[in-house]
Amino acid sequence: MEKPLNNRAWLMVAPVLVLVLFSALLPMMTVVNYSVQDSLGQNQFFWNGDAWFRDLLNPSTEIGARFSDALLRNLSFSLVTLALEVPLGIAIALCLPRGGWAVGPLLVIIALPMLIPWNVIGTMWQIFSRADIGLFGAALTGLGLHYNATQNAISAWCTIVVIDVWHWTPLIILLTYAGLRAIPDAYYQAARIDAASRWATFINIELPKLQKVLVIAVLLRFMQTFMIYTEPFVVTGGGPGSATTFLSIDLVKIALGQVDLGPAAAMSLVYNLITLTICWIFFTIMTQLDRRRYA
């Protein structure tokens, strides 16, 4: 599995590089700039070194405590939603027909939740989750559950999880389905000739061939859940209390509430770094597994 060393490949990658760099570099520089400065107001900044960072990472400071709480909330949220969405998405993708007239309409229906602007989703679920005027809320309270999205922390949590699963499982479904269809029929035929069970076919053929597609799906979803903002903001406002105050919501609160952007900038950098690190770890593990498996 040797890849030829070919530095002319840079030519093929150049357009991508230019486009993304153009968008990425300047803002990043700005943010870094802000994060190491303090301000006396009126746009006058002075050097603050790593003071903001030290405050942030110290759980005993006010801001540090907020940060670590929110971080924990984000991590658990990401974990729960991924654990729900990925298996569900794969399972649904396996149920979709290979061809025929039904594929088009089904793909359209499945894609619909992702096409609604996020603020509309939040707004709609605001109503939907209320026990008095919303179907979801009414149904749950009707079943005897103590459900109140704005006042009960567990309800709020569960609502955000349900919204996210409803909203984004289609991403996993579509990616998985496309990946499944890209597997040549010959593999399925070979599996049938070898008398492999459905499960064995899934484990030995489908899952290995889906690996890359699933990696990107998981990474995308992790990043999105880790940076979730709109839905919790609109539906629960971060509440009750701070039950659904995720990092991004906190970040915006701090940024808007302060004159100096230092703490917010520092927080956003650390936030970014944490996301990066987790993704990097996942990515490296997957590529190492790949390499070892096929060596």
């Binding site: 000739i193 053929i205 498996r293």
Partner: protein
């Protein structure tokens, strides 16, 4: 199992007006190696897939040893198929790949191990057994694909769909000889689809030549060479192929460009005398004197023989230049072996009266 029978098999793909396969009857005998040879689009892959069960034919029946299997899916037909691209289980070792079909059929561990070792030995894969299948070369992967088919002792037939397509040209001979060795060792019915005549002629006991969904001739490689029953067969097989020249036949003489060629048989029934005569370069020689006068355009020395390109009027002909004969200048004489000179009407061989 001793034979596969095709009864009136014909096929046209859904939403397609043309027949991909014209009606065909054929019996495939156990232990023989067959090749389905023809240009792309001739229907050979379609035919193969009908036999293997990947396609249900529009018409006709497929019988395995007298049993109608036309509606049975592939996995119930006890065949194994090797495709153009190696189909292996990426996550398994070679040994696990080979063992997989047996494991799924609940064979005993010890028996599986023995059988896997046997097949690996036959295919020179013994050293690769513990390696990940994905890490092998393409040739080795094709061997693993093949091995997975062979590992089941009850496999009735092995079907090959152009299995050497992705193999490095330098290594094709190695795999070809492996296939032949496997055939001899296991006495299996093997059906091999290819568009490469060399592959077909070296591999098969019998070759089915196809074109545009029709079977043109079924014969041994030697017979295809010596007695093509269709102009396409004559043209396609051999390098270069048969010389095919339009001629006017009157009884036992062919008139070509003002010259008369003795046919060695009588053809009383040809309408208007319009026909095509065909003869292979291997059965036509140049002589310095006598014969049919032709213009010599070019003589190529191919090592084993010398091939001359000559012209008879507007027709271009290839012929052998025998040893010791030197052809100088532009003129020579063409002699054709009479019993290898054939007459074709509407591309089909017409038998003459040799009394």
């Amino acid at each position: 199992m001793s034979r596969i029978t095709l009864e009136g098999i014909a096929h046209s793909y859904p939403r397609s007006a043309t027949m991909a396969l014209q009606p065909i009857d054929h019996v495939w005998e156990q232990g023989r190696a067959y090749a389905l040879l023809g240009p792309s689009g001739c229907g050979k892959t379609t035919l193969l897939n009908i036999i293997s069960g990947l396609i249900s034919p529009s018409q006709g029946r497929v019988l395995f040893d007298g049993r109608d299997v036309t509606q049975l899916p592939t996995e119930q037909r006890n065949i194994a198929q090797v495709f153009q691209f190696p189909v292996i289980y990426d996550t398994m070792t070679v040994a696990e790949n080979l063992a997989f079909p047996l494991k799924n059929r609940r064979m005993e561990r010890a028996a599986i191990k023995a059988r896997v070792a046997e097949i690996a030995d036959l295919l020179d894969l013994t050293n690769d057994l513990p390696r990940r299948a994905r890490a092998l070369t393409v040739e080795a992967k094709q061997k693993v694909s093949l091995g997975r088919g062979l590992v089941r002792a009850d496999v009735a037939a092995m079907l090959f769909d152009e299995p050497l397509t992705v193999i490095d040209p330098a290594l094709k001979w190695h795999l070809r000889s492996k296939l032949k060795a496997v055939h001899r060792a296991l006495d299996l019915l093997m059906i091999y689809v290819t568009h490469d005549q060399v592959e077909a002629l070296t591999f098969a006991d019998e070759v089915v030549v196809m074109k545009d969904g029709r079977v043109l001739q079924v014969a041994s490689p030697a017979q295809l060479f010596e007695r093509p029953e269709h102009t396409f067969v004559g043209y396609f097989i051999g390098s270069p192929g048969m010389n095919l020249i339009a001629a006017k036949i009157s009884d036992h003489v062919a008139h070509v460009s003002g010259h008369d060629i003795e046919l060695g048989a009588r053809y009383p029934k040809i309408k208007n005398g319009e026909a095509v005569i065909g003869f292979r370069p291997d059965f036509a020689s140049l002589v310095p004197e006598g014969g049919i006068p032709v213009q010599v355009r070019r003589v190529e020395d191919l090592g084993r023989r010398r091939l001359a390109r000559v012209a008879l009027g507007p027709h271009e002909i290839f012929a052998n230049v025998p040893e010791g004969v030197s052809i100088g200048g532009g003129q020579a004489g063409l002699t054709i072996q009479q019993d290898r000179l054939f007459v074709y009407v509407n591309d089909e061989l017409v038998l003459g009266d040799r009394r």
